[in-house]
Symmetry: C2
């Protein structure tokens, strides 16, 4: 099989699995227990937290382990909304966030919050100036992803954090207790390839996810800058500095930290390797397949992301043909495939429906080789040609799909 769907989920790195194993069967104690046997589990969590904090350039108690990226995003969004609503009910985000950001925001709208959804350019990148224009005295937080899961575009997180800082300095808040608007970023897709130092990025909160970094599923992290108070999502035994209750998932936490260390220490070499494959695949597709188009900026994108559209076609049909050749790729984001609606991300950068339905994502990773790229380049043109021959929408006359 050719696995080109690393943005949906990554295989577990065997080194990560090895690191996890002893905590399944040998050191299975509950980290909150006081005897020495359970302290082995406690120590493992402490080590994982320190290791993660070192990579993020923060202090360990600013790292909260959660059950996934979705929980981290929900925890920040719902937790900050509940804790800061006394200061305002305005939130800023973009139209291309992941559903685990957009859906809790929709929920907040039904509770009386007001959300500004910023447009992105045709290149799939938000303009920091648009953030500046949207900031208001009642803005409590801004949440903008670091790199997009579908089209891989990298957002100007540092610029946005400077814009927010500048706004706070020049616009004193109505209450002395009201901090400047918080800035959260979802870095799930960025973590294997980009600098995730929260010091460099200037964010107040950041989401990470084990299942996208060759770590285990079922574990995530939320960096929360000291002093930021979030209302918990999970109340109970008071684990994770009373911010997230529930018996700690020790093997998964150990695996998360190990995986993060591995991807971050290899990220420059891996980026260089994947850039070559990515650009070969993009250029090959655009050259060999007529009426094909790259979605998202060609430079400012993750080194593993290829997202292309083929005029007049339907993404699912392409995926099924690829699957017959044992190529795993994706259309829209994995979480929402199975629905016929075109992806909200593709619609945000391209309103023409003869292009939006066919977006196809190849997301590369560890095991992928140039031979695999060549294999796709050999077969994809035929697939597209065959589909166009049978498609009722390929004549070039029928614009727009039935909805």
């Amino acid at each position: 099989m050719i696995y080109f769907d690393h943005a949906a989920t990554t295989p577990l790195d065997p080194r990560v699995f090895e690191a996890m194993k002893p905590y399944f069967t040998q050191w299975y104690g509950n980290p909150s227990s006081i005897y020495r046997f359970a302290q082995k589990a406690r120590q493992a969590i402490d080590d994982a937290r320190e290791r993660t904090a070192k990579i993020l350039e923060c202090v360990p108690r600013e790292v909260i382990f959660t059950s996934c990226g979705t929980e981290s995003n929900n925890f920040f969004i719902l937790g900050a909304a509940a804790a800061y609503k006394k200061f305002g009910k305005h939130i800023i985000t973009t139209k291309i966030e992941h559903d685990s950001v957009l859906k809790p925001l929709e929920h907040l709208e039904s509770q009386g919050f007001e959300v500004t959804y910023l447009d992105v350019g045709k290149n799939g990148i938000v303009d920091a100036e648009d953030v500046q224009k949207a900031l208001r005295p009642d803005t409590i937080f801004v949440t903008i992803m670091y790199a997009n899961n579908e089209i891989g575009t990298i957002q100007p997180i540092q610029e946005i954090s400077r814009v927010i800082e500048y706004y706070s300095k020049t616009h004193p808040q109505p209450s002395i207790l009201n901090p400047s608007p918080l800035f959260h970023t979802d870095a799930c897709q960025a973590a294997p390839y980009l600098d995730i130092s929260v010091k460099n990025l200037g964010v107040d909160a950041m989401t990470l996810n084990g299942g996208k970094i060759y770590g285990p599923k079922g574990v995530g992290a939320l960096f929360i800058r000291e002093g930021v108070e979030l209302t918990p999502l999970l109340f109970g035994g008071g684990q994770e500095y009373r911010k997230r209750s529930g018996t700690e998932n020790v093997p998964a936490i150990v695996g998360f930290a190990k995986a993060l260390s591995l991807v971050q220490s290899d990220r420059k070499i891996e980026t260089k390797r994947l850039l070559k494959l990515r650009d070969k695949l993009i250029n090959g597709i655009l050259k060999k397949i007529p009426e094909s188009r790259l979605n998202g900026d060609s430079k400012n994108r993750l080194p593993n992301n290829i997202n292309v559209s083929f005029r007049g076609l339907e993404g699912e049909a392409i995926l099924l043909r690829l699957d017959m050749l044992n190529i795993a790729a994706s259309s829209g984001s994995a979480c929402t495939s199975g629905y016929l609606e075109p992806s909200h991300v593709i619609r945000a950068i391209n309103s023409n429906s003869e292009w939006t339905h066919s977006s196809t994502r190849f997301s590369l990773g560890h095991g992928n080789t140039e031979e695999e790229v060549d294999f796709v380049l050999k077969h994809l043109p035929k697939i597209i040609q065959e589909l166009r021959e049978i498609s009722p929408f390929s004549s070039g006359e029928t614009y727009g799909f039935p909805r």
Copy 2:
């Protein structure tokens, strides 16, 4: 090591780990992806759900997988409160629930909900008649645990569900849309030993936890009866029938179902085996150690739970001595140890502080043997005697600890 802390967490059953392994490294696909490779993961989740539903005697879509027992409890409590608050803001529970029930309820109180905390008898069991008396037209739900995590007492769940049903029949609700008060039970501790058929129990919702049934940590389940609408805790990609978003933790879900099957199919034999050990340990302690006392009912308790107090002593000191002999036991619940406050459960059944500080829990499990019980019976009397000799509170004259 003698592990007598199975109520804090159980070791992972090697058969469960074997069942999980292929989903870490081989079938790592995202279950929401449409290609065949990922459908292996989807199939594994479907199978796990069917297997779980069969044990619970419900339909598969009534089983929602979560990240732990704490999440399941929070999901029911916060989700039902948000969804049903239009019909009332009154909730009934007991004073001996787990913190993952009590803390979200406290949070709801701060949001204008009213919670009735029922007393339990000296035996640690709630009276179903007290539930009946507490029910009101604005009661939206009742949440009472199946078996207590600290003292192992089994609550009369069937009786309580009949009481609620009777109340609903005889007291028409103010709104036709308002269902009868929902009944939720936390069955985390009960699952390895008791009948957990939701049909027999008559509950509308039930919490289960992988880490207490020889399954993996980081996974739980919530049974939600069809027709019960809970506001989600985690919004996003719409996994788990749109009730709980987040990429499914496939190996953990597979492990959960496998573990639940194993404990439930062995439960009668294991109960019989543990009852002998439990009663030998209880009777031995009470006979050999002066001024010792069993906490909770002697008959109506889990077959693996021994919870005893030693007049005038402090639980942590006992645990440390046991630890020196490589015996892992617990004082209070694991989630809250490390705090000096005596357990809220022990206080609920025993207000005399010369007894409440020394509650010590031995919770037995799979690997435990009669030799281990004998070992504790040999050493514990000496430990208690030595501690009493050095304790300033052991003279029998000083009642009450400094707080």
